[in-house]
């Protein structure tokens, strides 16, 4: 689980931007997000900017989008979820699943992954029959 710096969202974003020596205008030009909106976010006037705005800023700053989504309150990391083997499931957005249902989802996703890999292996064998001997 990535470490989340002990800052609120606005100051964290300002820190990331200034660390790269970028102006608000630079970021606006690169991301398509208006500099006015960026300023409001950094000053804490917009506390929960859109997730896609955060994703874009994370991409531009080379930061972890998950950290920003946590700071904006979109993702809640429950201690129990973090302890799970699939901690990434804690990142899912559906909050109305019971712990049993989360287990079911994890199990189902493992099944999907196995199925995908099995298909890929079968395709590979068809393409290169000799290599499977």
């Amino acid at each position: 689980m990535p470490a989340v710096p002990d800052l609120s969202l606005g100051p964290r974003l300002r820190q990331l931007r200034e660390g790269l020596g970028l102006s608000l205008r630079d970021v606006a030009n690169d991301t398509g997000i208006s500099s006015g909106h960026l300023s409001l976010i950094e000053n804490g006037r917009v506390r929960a900017p859109s997730p896609s705005v955060l994703q874009r800023l994370a991409d531009r700053y080379g930061a972890d989008a998950q950290d920003l989504l946590v700071l904006a309150g979109y993702i809640k990391l429950e201690a129990e979820q973090v302890r799970r083997s699939h901690a990434r499931v804690a990142m899912a957005t559906m909050s109305d699943l019971t712990p049993e249902e989360i287990d079911e989802v994890e199990s189902f996703i493992s099944y999907l992954r196995q199925r995908k890999h099995a298909k890929a292996r079968a395709t590979e064998k068809r393409r290169h029959p000799a290599s499977s001997i």
């Binding site: 997730p51 699943l97 249902e101």
Partner: protein, 284 residues
């Protein structure tokens, strides 16, 4: 509770522009949108499961899960019954991939509805709609035709979108003052609108508004539908729903204003178009 859907924020705008950019990049300029090609271009693999088939698996997903994006594995999965709904789910999950990648998503029916409450889901829905309907292209095609339920359904079939999603898009982007009310019988499970006998029972049970959407020019005319609105016996919507006719053209009174109304049944809901007379086209 039904709610009016008016997405207006930076994230929604980004979802629209990202979708338009993707369509441009892939030079997709006519419907239906080739989703398999989009998935391939994005390097995503896709599993489509019938809901019953999924329930019978040794390790089934919870019934409420309808769509999955496993970003780490670049894998999209859709669980549904209808091909059109599968396309909606895929468009939505591709939206998560483009807009919010690096996460794992499992989405419920509520997340895929137009009145989804979570911002992440609303953005993915907006992206999916912008991909499936190619911005305004679907609506522009529909506007070239005189309005009728049958012609609108034909466009939906051509574009491989569900009637509900197609009607919603058409109304939201229509230049005139029009609205779509999506109603269901009170206390009736989904799918119960298939038989005429079931529909006759609506006269006793009444109907309720699932949600409604409108065009921009409909706003501010004092014709808003009420949150949680219910329609009882004698109301034209209830009468139309219980009449057994699949298509119904008539008039509905909202406030003090009489407006043309056209209604069509899906197996799930009644789609009531308000304010658009039959046969009228944009050119009229």
């Amino acid at each position: 509770m039904p709610r009016r859907v008016r997405p207006r924020n930076e994230g929604i705008q980004l979802a629209r522009s990202d979708a338009a950019h993707l369509l441009d990049e892939l030079q997709i300029a006519s419907g239906p949108t080739p989703l398999p090609r989009i998935l391939e271009e994005l390097g995503l693999s896709y599993e489509e499961l019938d809901a019953d088939e999924a329930a019978a698996l040794p390790r089934p997903p919870p019934p409420k899960v309808r769509g999955i994006l496993d970003a780490e594995e670049r894998l999209v999965c859709s669980i549904d019954h209808s091909p059109e709904r599968h396309r909606w789910v895929v468009g939505h999950e591709v939206g998560h991939w483009v807009l919010h990648k690096r996460l794992l998503y499992y989405c419920s029916q509520a997340d895929l509805e137009p009145n989804a409450t979570k911002q992440l889901e609303r953005e993915a829905n907006e992206f999916g709609a912008a991909i499936l309907f190619q911005g305004r292209r679907f609506t522009e095609e529909c506007l070239r035709l005189p309005f009728s339920l049958d012609l609108l359904r034909q466009r939906c079939r051509t574009w491989q979108v569900s009637n509900e999603a197609g009607f919603r898009r058409f109304i939201e982007q229509h230049p005139g003052p029009v609205a779509l009310a999506v109603c269901r019988p009170i206390g009736t499970p989904s799918g119960a609108l298939r038989s005429r006998r079931d529909r006759a029972g609506i006269r006793e049970s009444g109907a309720e508004l699932r949600y409604w959407v409108s065009s921009r020019s409909y706003h501010g005319r004092g014709l808003d539908l009420a949150q949680g609105q219910q329609f009882t016996a004698g109301h034209v919507i209830v009468e139309a729903m219980s009449s057994g006719r699949s298509d119904y053209y008539g008039e509905v009174t909202i406030g003090q204003t009489k407006l043309p109304m056209a209604m069509f049944f899906t197996s799930w809901s009644a789609l009531v178009i308000i304010g658009l007379p039959r046969g009228e086209s944009e050119r009229d």
